[in-house]
Symmetry: D2
Subunit: 156 residues, 4 copies
């Protein structure tokens, strides 16, 4: 089952065009990611410190289907999935809380597990695998060659 | 009675020193301000749009008593008070949610009411006065002349 | 010829992992976009105001090939290209200024021209076409079906 | 002599009211601070890492005399001064580059030197004293007791 995160668009998220500045939506998705890790029992201060292992983002993308305004209440659905022994991806669907039938935006981030001391890739650790089991699911389209393609399509 | 706002420190709030980047704490206080306006019935999209009247910040300040880390749960107490017919100030006390006896930070913002079309000061409107009555209080130290002291001095 | 933008990584760009927070790299690319518009004679305040026409971003993506640190000097190459009568995309290659042989990151944004009053798509206006001619070029791989695919590949 | 820093207001700095979001001006001042440290020979990555000594901000304040818009070219004058053996303050005057007679904003930050391993205050190190000598000056109004006044009061 996906993890659900509620977030109100803040004044700081907006820009002089009157709507959410594009890259701030990715930061909101990262907030949902942090909340899901915390809900799975992770200590965030430790998780995001450069000790033992880190999970840097290697790729991020986001599609916008309509503008978002200050005060808009958003519901973010987060869905992670392991893609390799050392990699996972997280998909985000962003809805206006009061119209849940169609997302207003979709996003995705790819993460790899890196050993902080050696700098090399490593297998995902047990707590992450637990988190993947908790919030991941098979409701994701499986991609043929194990390569993420462009999952989001183009807005019409 | 003050307005109470809960906020978890996010990864994005931190910097390479491992703690919250200083000006982000003011942005968290502004979130509390937005939440208090919303709780008092204001429409945030309209309130922060450049229509009719706006409430720009003319001064802000913040004191830090200890560093804050990713994942820290904060409780912000917001307390506004009218300082002139066209002005109000908001004071913020920021606590770690699990040690409420002593703030970890304090902040303050000053706001003036401005008519968007003429650009000149105006009296506070009724909704703001209602909000001030709801969350303001006399638990603030009164300063001698009822004028906020200007600690930076006025530009000559 | 691409537009070249110089940018030093600032403390605010970093996070508690000690490196640039992922979505801030997209904001740096947007800075390069703004600088290129300004260099082409656009008035930025007017360009980004919700008057007449606006160019919202409908898609953004970014790949990271290595972490970036506070003080790193970056050189961003910006290359725009028209993709439809109403659309353009901008590609960004981000280099460490002192090792220009291999990008440390790549990004892309898609933009559409929208009439502010009607809210519907419109053809790109003359100043944008002029800007496209100035900084665009044929050094981009042409994609068969007019659909942007995933141009960035996976970091090895 | 003060350090001079040039900065164009970016779209990301603005909010839905059409002007610079208040706390972003403090971040621009911090950019000027970073540029001055770099100009004095400091390595920024090392300076802002939690190794040996750090210089956290204990207080920040900012006054706004007029709104700032996307594309505005700013000139920031930075002027530091030692206030105690372990403390310094930095004052910032922000001008529109094309009207240098009157600042549009003023700001101030206080910093203390802290030993990273013990967590206790320490004397300013030689590179910081060198930087203070280079960009500081006696053009600052001296306050009575050589102690920065604390306009927010100390928490009890």
């Amino acid at each position: 089952v996906p993890f659900i995160y509620q977030r109100t668009v803040q004044f700081q998220d907006t820009d002089a065009a009157g709507v959410v500045y594009f890259s701030n939506l990715l930061a909101m998705c990262h907030e949902a990611y942090e909340a899901s890790l915390s809900a799975a029992g992770m200590d965030l201060r430790r998780f995001f410190s450069p000790v033992e292992e880190v999970y840097p983002i290697t790729h991020a993308e986001v599609d916008f289907f309509r503008p978002l305004f200050c005060g808009d209440r958003l519901t973010i659905h987060l869905n992670p999935r392991q893609t390799q022994s050392s990699d996972f991806e997280v998909r985000y669907q962003i809805y206006l809380s009061d119209s849940p039938e169609k997302p207003v935006s979709e996003a995705m981030t790819w993460h790899i597990a890196v050993d902080s001391t050696t700098g090399s890739r490593k297998n995902l650790s047990q707590p992450i695998i637990h988190w993947l089991a908790q919030y991941g699911g098979d409701n994701q389209p499986v991609r043929g060659n194990g390569q993420p393609s462009n999952p989001l399509g183009k807005p019409d």
